[in-house]
């Protein structure tokens, strides 16, 4: 995509992140898309590739409160949401907010904890509120969760159920940096970690107004139809057991709006859809076991579907 027309505020944020994250512009962009679209991100990758750094840089750049939850098998839901503690002095229960009460949350290794704890987080993500001891606490906006999970094949994991995966707007991989980038990483590591010096380039109020603007980005009927056709094709694909849900279609549209906005457009292009389809759909598609044995991945399925669905080049005739 053409970077020249990028939205200036967003370009600022991305530039800021790039100061600490080397060669991960695409991941930064996608994270920002999710943040702007009001969604959450699931990062699946091995430890040590900079997931935490990424989120912290993002949080710092937009001046958001950053919280981190390290999920372990013995973590309890209250460790996430917060807990009411009896205060003997004042003779009453006092609510002590948990780490979920922040703006940007890194939920590290989410699949290492029990489903019960997982769902506590996921409820918060879905409802933008948590209920503790019968009291509902609204979460502050923006509320953005970046969850990481180890690749599922690793031992000692509780895979997230499909319904909960559906709540992440995007799923992506960090990936290892290439050789040049990694050398640069080493260079920087010799000095003080630059993350500490990162200054915010945007405040939360600005972020919220951007989020509002994004909702106004025009999605033409031709594009909606294109989205629906892609979603439909994932459902009818021979290797797919469960295709993208209508919630997936909505997610794709919202992500595309944010992405188009990021690139300074007030309308969505098929290019946006194509770029985002894989990130939006892969975690929502469940492959048949045969397909899995054959080594087919959800990414491949989405790629094939996109190659097959004709791009709309004319206005819809009503």
């Amino acid at each position: 995509m053409d970077r020249n027309h990028m939205h200036p505020a967003i370009e600022r944020v991305l530039g800021n992140i790039e100061k600490v994250m080397i060669g991960k512009r695409d991941v930064a962009e996608l994270s920002l898309v999710a943040l702007l679209a009001g969604g959450h991100v699931l990062l699946e990758d091995v430890p040590g590739v900079g997931k935490t750094m990424m989120v912290r840089a993002l949080a710092k750049s937009v001046g958001a409160a950053f919280k981190r939850i390290q999920f372990t098998p013995d973590l309890l839901p209250s460790d996430v949401t917060g807990v009411s503690i009896y205060n003997p002095k004042e003779m009453e229960f006092q609510f002590r907010p948990g780490p979920i009460m922040g703006n940007i949350i890194l939920a590290d290794e989410i699949n290492r904890t029990s489903p019960k704890t997982q769902s506590a987080l996921l409820e918060g993500m879905e409802e933008s509120s948590v209920t503790i001891d019968g009291v509902t606490h609204r979460l502050e906006k923006p509320f953005f969760v970046m969850a990481t999970q180890n690749p599922i094949e690793y031992e000692g994991t509780y895979p997230l159920p499909e319904a909960q995966l559906d709540r992440f707007l995007l799923k992506m991989k960090m990936g290892y940096p290439d050789i040049a980038d990694e050398m640069e990483v080493l260079n920087r590591a010799q000095r003080i970690p630059p993350i500490e010096d990162l200054e915010p380039v945007m405040d939360l109020a600005e972020l919220r107004s951007l989020q509002k603007e994004i909702k106004e980005v025009h999605v033409d009927d031709t594009i909606k139809r294109y989205i629906v056709e892609i979603a439909n094709q994932t459902r009818n694909h021979s290797s797919v057991y469960l295709g993208a849900s209508p919630r997936g279609s909505i997610a794709l549209m919202k992500a595309a709006q944010a992405y188009a906005f990021m690139y300074g457009r007030d309308y969505v292009l098929p290019d946006d859809i194509q770029y985002l389809a894989s990130a939006v759909f892969v975690h929502r598609i469940i492959l048949r076991s045969e397909a899995k044995f054959e080594g087919i991945t959800a990414e491949e399925v989405v790629e094939r579907v996109i190659a097959r669905v004709p791009v709309p080049v004319q206005r819809l005739v009503k």
């Binding site: 309308y267 292009l269 098929p270 290019d271 190659a307 097959r308 004709p310 791009v311 004319q314 206005r315």
Partner: protein
């Protein structure tokens, strides 16, 4: 189709009136060229339908009124008695059922007039609906206007219909309608309310322009065409008719014999069938004046002598006397073509058809026309009573001596020859007849002369005389091959040149024997191929005696030689020919320009024959056209982009932007730069730009993306990007 809008205002009314005038132009020639009469009934129907449409009468009610009118009109045209006694309804229903049966059997000629009229009404109904749809809903009339002009000009060119006034009328009406409709369309497009001042501003210049152009057209000098009139060529090639002798002629009965010659091809269209007791030729008319190129009549045409059913038929044939033994016979004729003339044998005594029919004979040609209520009317069938003569040769031989008894003007009329006739024709006649003294022997000698081997019968390799050549002379001395016209004309001319009064007879041979149908009757079928011409020579006190000079033909004229005795060898001059008389077509004809007989049936026959005869040519033309189209398709890279550039050059309308872009996509695809199904326009544009090393496609595409995916087209988009588009599409030129 949506139901037509109703607008009751003066302009709409004017539109309907003008629409009516255009439709009327279609009906006028129908009246003149076909045997349709009472056209006023149909006109009233048109007016009624258009009025109903104008006032927006509901479909149900207007249909009811129209059906009622149609029934009333049909009753008026075809039934007696009161409309309301309803006794005619069963007859009408039976007729409908009968006609549906005929349609299923595809027996088109059998369809009754009643049913035809009904179908015509339905056609008019459809037409009024179409007119209304074009005028009020579509606001476009050009196609109809154009079709009307074509219709009129074609009729003017190929039929006797004189369309001079019709063209002017149509042009004025058509331009007026188009002008008004354009105004209406503009008003609609711009969403303007119709105001009297606005429409006046439009209508007055419109009227002035039409008046001015029409006036100019009238006043301006009319230049002669700068190329030769192509019509005769088209006629002779397409219709295989054309009386000026150039090109190929069509066989069949025709009127114009003023220029004979040229090859012709057969035509199997059935003219009539006849039940006869003995075979005989069928006469239609005779001609008496030889021009050197063909035959015309000496007297003014169009003089008719009427006669009724009981009257003696005023046609000259043989004169009844003792020397001619006669046998009474009857023949029945069942016609297949709508000719209003009667075919009749020699010695005609009576014609029996419907008692209401009267007849008249054209004095110049002895052509008998059948009339119904004073108008030419084609009979479906009729019965002829006639005497078959057997001439006594003795009497015939003596007849020539009484030549003085003939009136001078009669002799002059039937011994007429053109002054330019070469002398060698007369010398030849004298040479042929030098041994003979009496008229009969001379005539027989002349007739026999053509049976010589040096003359050959041919339909195809027949010359047309040049301006300075004589038709008969050319045949007798130069070409020596031809068909009946050559033989018969030559014999008439030879006979006249030695003083025998002779005339040229046109008609049909006995036709092709089909079957015996009992009680001594035989059924013959006479097609256009049986059209023929032969000779009659007048013998004083004996009357007209037919002779047959054409090789391979035999007129079955009986001569009684018993009393003549000495000439016993002569009969076989006639008889043997029967064996060598395969049904050879003859008598080419000439324009099918018979005014009263222009009919759908004949037209259809002509079309059918045209296809039958020319299927090779048509096939070749279609094949060639197919190849041409295919080549054009293969080479479309060379011309299609030019066409598109030309098409979009003038326009400034942004609506064309997307059209043009999609065409560009198609052209690029044809050029070989295929866009994959899942490839977005932006990716594709990048690919195109890198291929042609430009940035034009990207810029054009950005504009287009905005249109498609945002639904907004900036004003002037097409103007801004036209150049990009042109540059790109030029690149696709192979």
């Amino acid at each position: 189709m949506s139901s037509p809008k109703v607008q009751i205002d003066f302009v709409s009314f004017l539109l309907y009136v003008l629409g009516f005038f255009l439709l009327w132009e279609w009906l006028r020639p129908v009246e003149e060229l076909t045997d349709t009469s009472n056209i006023i009934v149909f006109l009233v129907f048109l007016i009624l339908s258009l009025l109903l449409a104008f006032f927006g009468v509901s479909l149900l009610l207007s249909s009811f009124i129209k059906v009622l009118y149609i029934l009333y009109a049909l009753h008026y045209l075809y039934f007696e008695g009161s409309f309301f006694d309803f006794s005619w309804i069963p007859v009408f229903a039976a007729d409908m059922a009968h006609n549906f049966g005929l349609i299923v059997e595809r027996d088109w000629p059998g369809i009754t007039n009643l049913f035809r009229s009904l179908l015509f009404f339905i056609l008019l109904w459809l037409m009024t609906y179409l007119i209304q749809y074009w005028l009020i809903n579509r606001r476009r009339i050009f196609i109809f206007f154009f079709m009307t002009l074509i219709y009129i000009t074609v009729l003017d060119t190929f039929t006797p219909y004189e369309a001079d006034a019709a063209i002017v009328r149509t042009a004025i009406t058509g331009f007026a309608v188009m002008g008004i409709l354009t105004f209406n369309r503009l008003m609609d497009q711009e969403g303007l309310k119709k105001e009297a001042s606005l429409s006046r501003k439009w209508m007055i210049p419109l009227a002035a322009l039409i008046a001015l152009s029409t006036g100019l057209g009238f006043a301006a000098p009319k230049a002669e065409p700068i190329w030769p009139d192509p019509v005769p060529f088209i006629k002779s090639y397409g219709q295989n008719s054309g009386g000026d002798g150039q090109g190929i002629q069509k066989i069949g009965y025709g009127e114009d014999d003023s220029r004979l010659g040229g090859p012709f091809i057969g035509d199997n269209a059935v003219v009539f069938r006849a039940e006869v007791e003995s075979r005989h030729y069928w006469k239609v008319e005779t001609k008496d004046t030889y021009t050197g190129k063909g035959w015309v009549t000496s007297q003014a045409e169009g003089e008719y002598l009427p006669f009724g059913n009981e009257d003696e038929i005023p046609v000259s044939s043989f004169i009844e006397n003792d020397a001619i033994e006669t046998t009474e016979e009857t023949s029945s004729v069942y016609t297949f073509m709508n000719y209003p003339h009667v075919v009749y044998p020699l010695g005609l005594k009576s014609i029996n058809a419907s008692p209401f029919i009267t007849y008249e004979v054209e004095t110049a040609t002895e052509k008998i026309r059948s009339l119904d209520g004073g108008r030419p009317f084609a009979l479906d069938e009729y019965k002829l009573g006639f005497d078959v003569p057997e001439y006594s040769v003795t009497a015939m031989k003596e007849a020539g001596a009484k030549a003085e008894s003939l009136p001078d003007d009669y002799m002059a009329r039937y011994t007429q020859l053109p002054e330019e006739l070469p002398e060698r024709v007369r010398e030849l006649a004298l040479e042929i007849t030098q041994d003979k003294t009496d008229w009969f022997e001379k005539a027989r000698e002349l007739e026999r002369y053509f049976r010589r081997a040096e003359y050959t019968y041919s339909q195809t390799d027949v010359a047309v005389p040049e301006d300075n050549e004589d038709y008969v002379d050319q045949f007798l001395f130069d070409t020596k091959q031809g068909y009946c016209d050559n033989f018969s004309s030559s014999m008439v001319v030879l006979a006249r040149s030695i003083g025998l009064p002779a005339r040229w007879v046109k008609g049909y041979t006995e036709g092709e024997f089909k079957q015996s149908i009992g009680s001594g009757l035989r059924l013959f079928e006479i097609t256009n191929n049986n059209a023929h011409s032969w000779v009659e020579i007048y013998f004083p006190e004996m009357g007209w005696v037919p002779f047959e000079p054409t090789q391979g033909f035999n007129n079955n004229v009986q001569f009684n030689f018993d009393t003549a005795g000495q000439n016993a060898s002569q009969p076989e001059a006639e008889e043997p020919k029967e064996t060598e008389a395969p049904v050879k077509p003859d008598e080419p004809t000439e324009t099918v320009a018979e005014k009263p007989s222009f009919s759908i049936k004949e037209l259809w026959g002509n079309i059918e024959n045209f296809f039958k005869e020319n299927w090779k040519v048509i096939g070749a033309v279609i094949l060639a056209a197919g190849v041409l189209v295919f080549v054009l398709f293969l080479k479309r890279g060379k011309w299609l982009p030019h066409y598109f550039i030309w098409r979009f050059k003038k326009t400034k309308n942004d609506e064309h932007f997307s059209k043009a872009y999609l065409i560009l996509l198609k052209e690029l695809d044809r050029y070989g730069l295929k866009r994959k199904n899942g490839q977005t326009l932006r990716e594709y544009a990048k690919y195109i730009d890198s291929f042609f090393s430009t940035k034009e496609m990207g810029r054009l595409t950005a504009r287009y993306e905005e249109f498609v995916y945002r639904g907004v087209l900036k004003e002037g988009s097409w103007n801004d990007t036209k150049e990009l588009w042109e540059n790109l599409i030029k690149k696709t030129i192979a």
